[in-house]
Subunit: 247 residues, 2 copies
Amino acid sequence: MESMSDDRLSLLRRGPRFAELGDDELAGAHELATERSFACRETLFREGEEAEEFLVVLAGRVKLTQLGSDGQEVIARFLGPGDMCAAVAIFPGGTYPATAEAVEETRALGWRREPIDALLRRYPAFAVRAMRVLSERVRELQDRVRELSTERVAQRIARALVRLARQVGRPVEEGVLLDLPLTREDLANMTGTTLYTVSRVLTEWETAGIVRTRRRRVVIRRPHGLVSIAEDLPDPAPPGQREGSTT
Amino acid sequence: MESMSDDRLSLLRRGPRFAELGDDELAGAHELATERSFACRETLFREGEEAEEFLVVLAGRVKLTQLGSDGQEVIARFLGPGDMCAAVAIFPGGTYPATAEAVEETRALGWRREPIDALLRRYPAFAVRAMRVLSERVRELQDRVRELSTERVAQRIARALVRLARQVGRPVEEGVLLDLPLTREDLANMTGTTLYTVSRVLTEWETAGIVRTRRRRVVIRRPHGLVSIAEDLPDPAPPGQREGSTT
DNA sequence: CGTGTGTTTGAGGCACGTCAAGTGTCGTGG
DNA sequence: CCACGACACTTGACGTGCCTCAAACACACG
């Protein structure tokens, strides 16, 4: 019991989200939570259901999706250890705005409405921290809206990859591995395009040496190349490649 | 001085944002604020500047915009009385995520970081209320992302109009007037398209009797028609129109 | 009464979606 | 351990929704 507590506490602390909370806040918080486990492909909750629990991921990865009017799925974002979701559960009558599905074996901490409400009112720092996280999310979403409104598909895919690299990138010798199972369709659903277009763009980048892909895996070999595409800059000469056909 | 206080207090209370706060919270809050006035077309703050004040609009309308990479503007949303913005000002080092420009004569209340921080920690209800507003904004933005990802231009324009009707719609005899100056370009910047396409769509709807437009003004004559387009439903027969060519 | 800002309309092109086939790869059960 | 089936991915051909550019019009304001 004790060791499990410590385990969860340190996991919570390791995540970026709760680093600023004091020990007592954290202990108070985690005491009121219940831990849940989910198998790969299991859904944590569904869009539209009444929101019961506010969740913080301890381990694993979760895909948050919404359903488009004609049935296609739109990926809101991926969650990893330390990420929170379902903030609406704090308010009575709220419904989950998205569906959450584990894409790996996943563990999470859940708080029901009353405890989390008590927590927020008892530890203002907790609420302020949550506000900060929400503000960041608002900013991210506004960025995404801007991108979808003004940028071409290739730029958006590049941005999605860069974002994923920051979030779940793991350095490997070849470059940066995106450490989650990621299909072309996932990428399409993140950027508002189709899996066909994503496929074409990725093979193009593959021949340019920018990425290396295998089934459900992406390795970014030249991050800067992606950034250039995202920012619509002239292509920086990749190391060891000959150029000379611009005219 | 007293009457001015009362004036602002009641204005604050009238807005949907602060209705849940108690009297002392509200009084405490408004005491720490400073009032500002802005002429039409004056900018309250610019994207990227260091965020100095958290703002609540008392009267008038404000356009929140972001700049796309190649200079075109994307409209995040419009603010009316009771709406808040620049929540980032609460956190040290934050920068405004958008540019705010008054599109009418506007008055607003502003709080600097220290007072608002004190307020949040002193009145947890204030923070919880702010969280709720932020959660709603997150939901709205996710909806917009979904729309931009999956829907055609006409649907998105219809949705934008429906949304505006809810927010700033004023019943007039002809239908519902959108009570703010709104150009085709504004609508384009709200929906990720061009003013040309918006113009074409609107003239089509005008001949169908769904809207009536004048320069910078839009009146929605058949709200249900717009909703049908937004939801991609079969066109409901408008009152007094003949049909019979479906096969 | 002009000048600017908002708006309409047309012609043309392209980026991307759509549909159709096909290849490779993983996991599973015999 | 192999064979099958499902899933992930590729590639081509084709269509089209919307952007782009150019021109002219109309209303509002000084």
